[in-house]
Symmetry: C2
Subunit: 301 residues, 2 copies
């Protein structure tokens, strides 16, 4: 089952000719979600041939413009395209009011239902669940109400060791084995481990942008497969990072290390860095398995 | 004195990989104004090296997203760039509320004052004036409250025929001549026309988007130097044009002819037209001096 993330925007603050503001597409098989939606995101989706019609939901971290100014345009474009499927939107208080106000002044009634969920509390909570995924929020410390998101694959069942199985087990016995129960046959108990192996560890993608360096964050993203953590600045601007409630590449890597993440993806680069390899090196010095968020690239978990 | 318009967006409804939604920069010498501001306009300004810091004012025709979704991003980018000069914004009722709401949720206080003028009445009226220009509104017939704008150069003074002037005129006599008065010398009156020639006719740029075909419009843009009139569709879709309160290229040309415009610029093309030369030919059949609005091109009046 494929689980991947495509970067549509890797910049911060304001769009430039080289970088778009924050936006990512996460797909678990055919379930696709948009995470943040800076200005120009709909054109980025066209550029990378990611059909917006496939989106089931949109997650907005906070109401700084570089994370949501593209949302109203995307929503109206979906409507012009005659979408009829419900769209879920998760975002901070205020987002619904902003969108509704704009739709109302343009006298637009969307062709599809929007199921709006305001994330009112900063506490970590599960906000969404499908048969494959759960999404929980992560409290981030930024200048305004800001939440990260962890997309977790649901635990899969144990795998059967077909050649070890006794003949003629009932479907019920098979089900119990997959769920980890021991096998009871003619009054005798055989340990589950003799017939099954553990499923792969559930994969988890954590999206953390924007945030000041905050060690408390590590607990919320413990052991994730891939941690996206903003790295707006290099360590030479650590003071500026903390003043603006952003992080450095070094700090992003420290959080990845503290959390025991398997891999780190950094992004949300300040436009002062034309070349972001110094940010990569800075992070890799602390957490070697770091990659740069690059627009148009897909990262597989 | 240069008077020119640069096209930043020529498409309609939704941004695509080839076309941006409506936005134009009008400059009279160093006085620059933005007319409409679809999503991505700030990046278009970067692309064509038009510094947004130079803008004195922004004119928004109506609250369909392809005409203003880029405004909030541009305003916050100007603030991130530490602009301090006042910015004037003219737009329909609701625009101020939308912008204020977004600034308030992002806890943003702009670094510069905004002088907001809501165009509350659809009637034609003069809304802005500098030493060189006046701007008046044009009522357009669209699905929602929509106004066009005419940017008119102020009448210039008469030009002196230096070699015909008597010696030793006083500055006061010169001023009177330039204003068109006859010359009175030692009790005798000499006709003004002997010493001056008429100034060039004041140039006028009319921006009309979006509108259904409306012959009443011609009166409002009579004799303008350059008429921008939307041409969303070709005449084969005249019915669709009228149903959606848009115009065809043929209809745009008819308005230009009725108005006695010197030249016509068409734009706001439906994304169904990859190649817009058929729209150009259609308009030129009625009004030969028609040009296509092309992104990045500058049209001199």
């Amino acid at each position: 089952l494929t689980f991947q993330v495509t970067i549509l925007g890797s910049g911060s603050a304001t769009p430039t000719l080289n970088r778009n503001p924050s936006a990512q597409i996460l797909c678990y098989e055919n379930e696709c979600y948009l995470i943040d939606c800076g200005e120009g995101t709909q054109v980025q989706m066209l550029r990378y041939k990611l059909r917006p019609g496939r989106l089931r939901g949109i997650f907005i971290s906070h109401l700084h413009g570089d994370h949501y100014f593209g949302l109203i345009g995307l929503l109206t474009t979906l409507s012009l395209g005659q979408r009829t499927d419900e769209l879920k939107i998760f975002g901070p208080p205020g987002l619904r009011e902003i969108i509704s106000l704009q739709l109302s002044y343009s006298d637009t009634r969307l062709t599809y239902p929007v199921d709006f969920h305001e994330i009112a509390t900063p506490d970590a909570q599960t906000i969404y669940e499908t048969s494959h995924l759960t999404v929980r929020t992560v409290p981030l410390r930024h200048r305004i109400h800001c939440t990260g998101f962890v997309f977790s694959e649901k635990p899969r069942k144990r795998s059967l060791l077909r050649d070890k199985l006794p003949d003629e087990l009932t479907p019920e016995q098979i089900r119990l084995l997959k769920e980890g129960h021991d096998l009871v046959l003619e009054g005798q108990t055989y340990p589950n481990a003799a017939f099954t192996t553990a499923p792969p560890l559930p994969r988890q993608y954590a999206y953390c942008s924007d945030t000041i360096y905050d060690e408390a964050l590590a607990e919320h993203v413990r052991d994730v497969t891939l941690l996206y953590h903003e790295a707006t600045f290099g360590q030479e601007l650590a003071e500026r990072a903390s003043k603006t409630y952003h992080s450095t590449a070094h700090q992003a890597a420290q959080i990845a290390r503290l959390a025991g993440a398997k891999a780190l993806l950094i992004g949300h680069y300040s436009s002062r860095y034309r070349d972001v390899t110094p940010l990569l090196r800075e992070a890799q010095a602390v957490f070697p398995n770091t990659r740069l968020a690059t627009e148009g690239e897909t990262y597989t978990l």
